[in-house]
């Protein structure tokens, strides 16, 4: 939980709550109203493991009107970085209406993390942007910070008001390593280029997935039963929904981010 997160709960639904990670996108505040359609269809597939586990399979859709990209004037290093920087807000697949780059997770299941030697998450400064702009990892996993650009960047990763790491990287600097310390949402910035931004979500379990370009995700090895699903998107915010994982096979869900109540009524 970061200090600037805002949480509100809708009246009608008991499980639906929205919390928005606000980063100065104030224009979205208050107007953003998420409703969410959940359809759970139980699929059947053969079971191999000794302890029964299910898989959550689904797609996150965005059906609201287009949200304009953020455009920044580049005032420094514009010879290399370009005169303007464009930050995609929402990326929708034209056929499926699927939302790319949402993080789906199930947080209530206590399991020991089996793979302490997960490879480092590589975060590269490339062409005055962070690649990738969204990463997920587990607590203890290393982040490897690189700079491929011929200009100076500083990579400043923080959660709320606490810095995880803030390192200067001139051209051709060797990589910097830092392990993720706690679960939650890390913000990545460059104090020398205000328009650069990225996020890292850290978990204490393996039950998370980033939606692909069609909005699809898949979380395997879940114990059957009722679970709370969290969906996070950097522009659209956070949604919680409960699902019941079938004792065997795949549980299918489709979740929708409509943008606000009025748009839904039309």
């Amino acid at each position: 939980m970061t200090h600037d997160q805002e949480r509100l709960t809708t009246r009608s639904s008991d499980v639906l709550s929205i919390s928005r990670h606000s980063e100065g996108k104030d224009f979205m505040k208050g107007v953003l109203f998420l409703a969410l359609a959940l359809s759970a269809v139980q699929g059947i597939s053969p079971l191999h493991a000794e302890t029964p586990t299910g898989t959550l399979v689904g797609r996150i859709l965005y059906v609201g009107p287009a949200i304009p990209d953020q455009v920044f004037e580049v005032t420094r290093d514009s010879g290399f970085c370009g005169a303007q920087a464009t930050i995609r807000t929402v990326t929708i697949h034209p056929k499926t209406r699927g939302l790319e780059g949402a993080v789906v997770s199930i947080d209530g299941v206590a399991v020991p993390l089996s793979d302490p030697a997960a490879p480092a998450l590589v975060l590269t400064n490339t062409r005055c942007a962070f690649t990738p702009r969204l990463a997920t990892g587990v607590v203890g996993q290393q982040v490897e910070i690189r700079n491929d650009d011929p200009v100076m960047h500083n990579t400043h990763i923080s959660m709320g008001s606490r810095t995880l790491v803030n390192v200067a990287m001139i051209p051709a600097s060797r990589p910097v390593w830092k392990p993720l310390k706690q679960s939650g949402i890390y913000t990545v910035k460059c104090d020398a280029h205000k328009f650069m931004q990225a996020h890292i979500l850290a978990f204490t379990h393996p039950f998370f997935s980033i939606t692909d370009e069609t909005g699809a995700f898949r979380i395997p090895s879940l114990p059957p039963g009722e679970h709370q699903v969290t969906i996070w998107h950097d522009t659209l915010g956070t949604v919680h929904q409960s699902v019941t994982i079938a004792a065997t096979g795949d549980t299918h869900v489709t979740l929708e981010y409509p943008n606000h109540a009025d748009a839904r009524k039309q």
């Binding site: 200090h3 600037d4 100065g24 005032t75 420094r76 100076m152 500083n154 400043h156 990763i157 923080s158 709320g160 008001s161 606490r162 810095t163 995880l164 790491v165 803030n166 390192v167 200067a168 990287m169 001139i170 600097s173 060797r174 910097v176 830092k178 310390k181 706690q182 104090d191 020398a192 205000k194």
Partner: protein, 257 residues
């Protein structure tokens, strides 16, 4: 020339005095000492840092309301003045040094509290943040400052200042007027506007002005601010970092001509 030197020496002596406070023996923490710590805190610190330690005391209401720095929120903020790596918590000794020295311009020095009282208040303020239980901050080792700089070393330091783009924030001549600073882009961990320090005026520096202090500031960075750590950039090249330090010190030397 003479006056310039004297002033410079005076600064070194003052910062030397400040630094000599650091060798106190820390008593063990127990329930009684925490209760004492709380009593001292409520008298001496709550006014700014708030009774709950969240940086929202009655004076904190106007200090740092619209611009940095706001009094530290002990429940969740990171720390600026450390001997530890970027993002790490401070050691108890670091906190002791901060409280003893104070923070120029924003927080008084607490030499009036005896050493035992300072340790007690430290134990109390740490008790708000569970991270102090979970993480074990390890101080970095800092080398001794080498003997006085040569002109050539200061000249190299100037080149490093340019190469490492300090000017982006601190300006071409260290006056705190770099392009990102004047454009108002710099923000602290509370998203409040923050200024890049004027490197020509050591009296306003918060983390000390001795060569070793500057070496430490550049190695650790100041968490919760745009000021980054240069530890990785200078790993294994300590002599270059000293040159940069000497160049920074020479800026105030020159200003006093």
């Amino acid at each position: 020339m003479h006056a310039k030197r004297l002033k410079y020496i005076a600064i070194l002596i003052i910062t030397g005095l400040c630094a000599s406070t650091a060798q106190a023996v820390k008593p063990t923490t127990n329930r009684d000492s925490l209760r004492e710590g709380r009593r001292i805190y409520e008298q001496a610190c709550a006014w700014c840092h708030g009774t709950g330690g969240e940086g929202d005391g009655p004076a904190g209401w106007f200090i740092g309301r619209y611009s940095s720095p706001r009094p530290r929120n002990f429940a969740q903020d990171g720390y600026k003045f450390r001997s530890t790596g970027s993002g790490d918590l401070p050691t108890d000794q670091d906190l002791f040094t901060t409280i003893t020295r104070g923070i120029p311009g924003v927080m008084p020095a607490y030499r009036a509290l005896n050493e035992r009282e300072r340790w007690q208040v430290i134990a109390y303020l740490k008790s708000w943040n569970p991270a102090f239980e979970e993480e074990k901050p390890v101080p970095l080792t800092f080398p001794q400052a080498p003997a006085a700089p040569t002109e050539a070393a200061i000249h190299n330091g100037r080149n490093l200042y340019v190469k490492y783009d300090c000017r982006v924030c601190h300006g071409d001549n260290g006056e705190g007027d770099g392009p990102e600073a004047t454009a108002g882009h710099l923000r602290d961990g509370n998203n409040l506007p923050i200024r890049a320090t004027n490197l020509t005026d050591p009296s306003a520096w918060k983390n000390g002005a001795s060569a070793l202090d500057l070496f430490r500031t550049l190695t650790t960075g100041l968490d919760g601010t745009p000021m980054p750590s240069y530890a990785n950039e200078f790993a294994g090249r300590e002599e270059a970092l000293w040159e940069l330090v000497w160049y920074i010190q020479s800026l105030s030397d020159q200003q006093r001509k």
